[in-house]
Symmetry: C2
Subunit: 407 residues, 2 copies
């Protein structure tokens, strides 16, 4: 597997664009497009929230029933959620416009929105934006970056990742982009994520690989515990790599899953580390759990705890909060057997063992916690399973950003 | 039912004290005692956290197996959690000291701690504190207030409530105190709560009434989603009111339950409104839900949402976040049927109906949200059940308090 530069335009045949459409704010890119010169197999995972944004309802239809997908249009600024019939009609009009301009079927167009919930989309600006996007789209890495920038809301950096693998002697590329960074607690994808690949694969396996992988990547991220109305992760596969289509779970499928895991993990970590107001990526790895599900629940419980997050922000080795968060996760265990360490890639400090604190140095522990990437390693001593979850610290800025997000 | 002044010393035969013992900090009351001149029936509910503080383990034993309870000793500053054998031994020594000084059985003594997890209790200071407490205890309302102050950690005000009811022509009094105000997301009680009553009632009914009532009072509070290792709520009943002992679920039992509900609700609301860094009590009432459990889950989901809490802090009528929090609660419903209003006791503003925003005034909504007690009223239009949950807003100060709580 070869890690490369780029995002949604890394794979063959994909173009992208990011333009200013003044959907809500002036003077910033706020609409993005992804286009494949050939029709794609599409798969997607969407929010489990009962309150689903209009684009989520539109996309679920398209992914389930359309023979192929060829374009995605996304906007930031307004989420088009809680917008009733008018909101859904807006998706339809957007798809119709893309259909007309690109000469593809309207049901080959996915739409996505992120931003404030409850406001109506200014459809005229969106349609004008679509014209600009069609005009601007290119297959360059830079075009991919412009698209990644256009979907940002409170994100501070754009998020892309790409890899190449070899299948049948052909180079297969997979790239993607995503955006956070608040209302992030995916139960079925992230806020918005888009993956493109030139692999040839059956629609069924594409969906299965995506659904399965999300469990250990995007669904292991939490910024604030709020599962959005708009969570969407879609993957488009146009087959242009020229490999023999993957239609069964063979070694090639496994290679693809590995590539998918790399890109999704990279994007998920970028999203967590750029959580609203974050000063650090806060990773929790639980090892030797009795079951995989236990490991997931335990690690998510820690990275989701406001008190653990605040301790990371304060560089305070207040390990009791971490034990506490493990304890209320719902998983049964013996606290006396747990070992807890703080790590930063260079150093690992054992903090808690045999039911009590070790004689660690507060100063050294605080130094480790002051790193931009902090890991809490939890050894349950119960079995062989492990899982990793990603979040961020809780800072003043999270409150600032969210106390008046709409203004 | 007659609402009266006072707390744990309101009922006949109860004494209390609050003294300085320098358990962790100098110059503040940090140990409290409750003492009944007669042996009491005791009942309790405790944290569901797998990681249980030593005093929780001690108290569960006592409540389950001791024939009676006559004293409670509590300290703030150190939680005595994650402290192993030494921590449990500390509870035993404390109880022994009380036993010796008050000439009661050691297993008639409950102990409770709150504060930093993971540090060991300085037992010498605790034992010296017990001597002071025994010396200082009195049956005055002021003594109750001193005790309520001594159990505070990051609380900004002490929390007490008391009522009187009449049973068999006798005046029965029930009073209580509690403390928050972080790591508050009770799954079986609050951080620390103590109730005293002079009613004569069987131990079984005392426990049943308490367990049942907690579901709709303390367990409907969340400050930060973190269920503590120390959550404890105990009630002592000494029978000194002189009523005929309640041994069955008759009208007298119902009267007692009503009194219990009043005191617990009052304490729970005080705890929520004084959540760490809070500037407002944030109440969510869900009406016309299909089931009682649905109503509880929905209302708790809203008051637990970081984004809803931040919106309250910012006085921002960002209603989409409230819909979103209802949507990810796990309860199924049709978003088009939900009605959502913001209220402050004087005014009620309908914000969302028929799947979209009403044409409410942002200015007026913001004014309502700037009140010290904000209520979100959610009408599900699905049935006849309702529930109320209490939390607080999320402010800079929550982060400040928790980023370096130990220093």
């Amino acid at each position: 597997m070869n890690i490369i530069e780029g995002g949604v335009t890394a794979a063959k045949g994909f173009e992208a664009a990011g333009v200013e459409a003044a959907v809500k704010y002036q003077g910033r890119k706020d609409m993005a497009m992804i286009y494949s010169t050939r029709p794609c197999k599409a798969a997607g995972v969407f929010t489990s929230n009962v309150v689903k944004a209009a684009p989520v309802m539109w996309d679920k239809e398209v992914v389930a029933h359309s023979p192929c997908v060829q374009a995605v249009v996304a906007n930031s600024g307004i989420a088009n959620a809680c917008t009733g019939v008018q909101g859904y009609d807006c998706c339809k009009q957007t798809a119709n416009k893309v259909s007309e301009l690109l000469d593809i079927s309207a049901d080959a167009v996915l739409v996505a929105s992120t931003g404030v919930i409850g406001s109506q989309i200014p459809i005229d600006r969106i349609l004008a934006g679509v014209e600009k996007l069609v005009e601007a789209k290119k297959d360059t890495l830079e075009a991919g970056t412009l698209a990644a920038e256009a979907i940002m809301t409170t994100d501070t950096v754009s998020k892309q990742a790409a890899v190449q693998i070899e299948i049948d002697g052909k180079t297969v590329t997979l790239g993607g982009m995503c955006k956070g960074s608040g209302m992030i607690h995916p139960n079925m994808g992230t806020m918005l994520g888009f993956l493109t690949t030139d692999i040839a694969i059956s629609k069924e396996l594409l969906q299965e690989a995506l659904s399965e992988n999300v469990t250990d990547t995007f669904n292991m991220v939490s910024v604030d515990g709020d599962t959005s109305t708009n969570d969407t992760l879609v993957i488009l596969a146009n087959g242009m790599a020229g490999n023999m289509e993957i239609t069964e779970k063979n070694a090639d499928y496994d290679k693809f899953k590995e590539a998918l895991n790399y890109v999704n993990t990279a994007l998920a970590k970028k999203m967590a580390g750029d959580g609203e107001g974050a000063t650090a990526l806060f990773e929790t790895k639980v090892i030797h759990a009795a079951t995989k599900q236990d490991a997931r629940i335990l690690s998510r419980s820690v990275i989701g705890s406001s008190l653990c997050k605040a301790a990371i922000y304060g560089h305070d080795a207040n390990f009791g909060r971490f034990l506490c968060a493990l304890g209320y996760s719902g998983v049964k265990f013996d606290p006396e057997k747990v070992e807890l360490s703080f790590e930063n890639g260079e150093k690992s400090i054992l903090i808690y063992k045999d039911g009590i604190a070790t004689d660690y140095s507060e100063e050294e522990a605080s130094k480790v916690l002051a790193s931009p990437e902090v890991r809490v390693l939890v050894d349950m001593h119960m079995g062989e399973e492990e899982a990793t979850a990603w979040g961020c610290d809780l800072s003043y800025d999270y409150v600032k950003i969210n106390a008046d997000y709409r203004s």
